[in-house]
Symmetry: none
Subunit: 147 residues, 4 copies
DNA sequence: GTGGTCTAGACCACT
DNA sequence: GTGGTCTAGACCACC
């Protein structure tokens, strides 16, 4: 399963679901137009309350990440154009500043963090490739891009 | 004041205080051995509940960022050697992965994020320099900034 | 086609059909006595479940907007005299009040809304003219009445 | 009470609460910075489930209409600058078009609707004045603005 | 005290 | 079958 949840984490479960779906899309495991499990299916799969999953799905819909077709199911959105772009860009910069602060207290200079970030990116790219290869549905989406 | 708090933020106030102190240290505004305001002083200054400030200070002490000397006050720790390094390094990497996911949904490629990160670092370096220049070197706590 | 439906909208599809038919009539694309597609035809055309179309047609019939002639087809009603006029007038006024509230939060004064409404009316009138010119079917039914 | 709810309406209760708060603000009954009832208070007052009220409050917060201060209560936002302005403006125009369609079937020409709208505005202005006069707290906010 | 999250179980509208 | 809404009752973090 491309989605896992840790009920003991301090991060709300619904937020974990939101992040998990976003991650699966970013990794290429889910592609535009793919159907994702219904609320009830996912609730059974992860042994969660359907309401919890519903809350996550609503949040994802609000962010234009998925699209709900009443009575038929839920799908990964076609053109995931984010709404409040500025706000979220600012959040990204704040997170980067947090990295600098946290790094300083771990005695990591900005250059160290830059190197670390590069490593994370490379590892990510490799995983993404795998995600493409053994993704759902067999040969539905290619994986022939260079890394 | 080198510390500000937004009561309307979704981030807990005590967490904002923790982050604020860490940031001030990382920026060079506070240095090892500097005295920081007492719980009551800070509570008055920021109009917070003393319990809230106390909780933040506890957290900072647990992370070896500050040291409380009974009856004399609280000081920035000499050698802020982090305890649970492994755990926090992992958290940093997770945060970087989150940047990749969020960036993907904002149509920012890893390279874009790398550039963005570099910008943030540069801006940070500039601010840090200023922090050094007109830092709290003179009296108890400086407050001569324009408002 | 003078009717389009968005399955991803939060507005029920049957309601979209109802509104669509009413709009076509108001625009002059459909006129009194015109034949409209059968339930099955429309369902095929829009790839909808026939039940959904049937529900829409029922609603339209209840509002005296269309008339079903058993075995012969469905037609735009002659004298679309509304049944519950009071109720619907009240609904119109409520909608106008909603416009004022929503406008206030968008910093639009009532005068601004009035201007905006005038613009919408003008645009509407222009479209309506076009609807007249290149109406459906090419001369099958005239609809050059004044309103 | 400046908020009423009809449990038998087809409009979701939480939506009624959202609209009600917005209306109260637009009418001047609630002003920037005013405290609004806590979730539990309002739930008791309207005999609703707290979760229902919470959902409404979250929606209002997302629209920047209210601000939540943890542990202290909820307040009408200072600078209610709406986020997705374009989207909401478009919704307003669509609503105005709906008025034209609905008016046509009620045999109301656009000019009639314009007149009707003017009436609604005037009535609204009068009510707003009253709302100011016998608002909460007596003379806390003035009501001497032109109408 | 406040709001935030989660579960359980129910009913409804839509397709 | 799908998602949307509501209730009831519980636990938790924060202030």
């Amino acid at each position: 399963m491309w989605l896992q949840v840790d009920p003991r984490s301090s991060i709300p479960i619904y937020q974990q679901v939101v992040d998990g779906v976003k991650t699966a899309i970013a990794k290429g495991i889910l592609a535009s137009g793919d159907r994702i499990p219904s609320i009830r299916e996912l609730a059974v799969e992860l042994t969660l309350n359907p309401n919890t999953v519903a809350k996550a799905y609503q949040e994802l819909e609000r962010h234009r990440v998925i699209e709900v077709v009443r009575g038929r199911g839920t799908y990964v959105a076609k053109a995931p154009s984010p709404p409040n772009l500025e706000e979220r860009l600012q959040q990204i910069e704040e997170t980067m500043q947090w990295l600098l602060v946290e790094g300083h207290h771990l005695k990591l200079a900005p250059e160290d963090l830059l190197v670390l970030f590069r490593n994370v990116i490379n590892r990510w790219a490799r995983n993404r490739e795998e995600g493409h290869r053994d993704g759902p549905g067999g040969g539905d989406h290619q994986s022939d891009e260079e890394v």
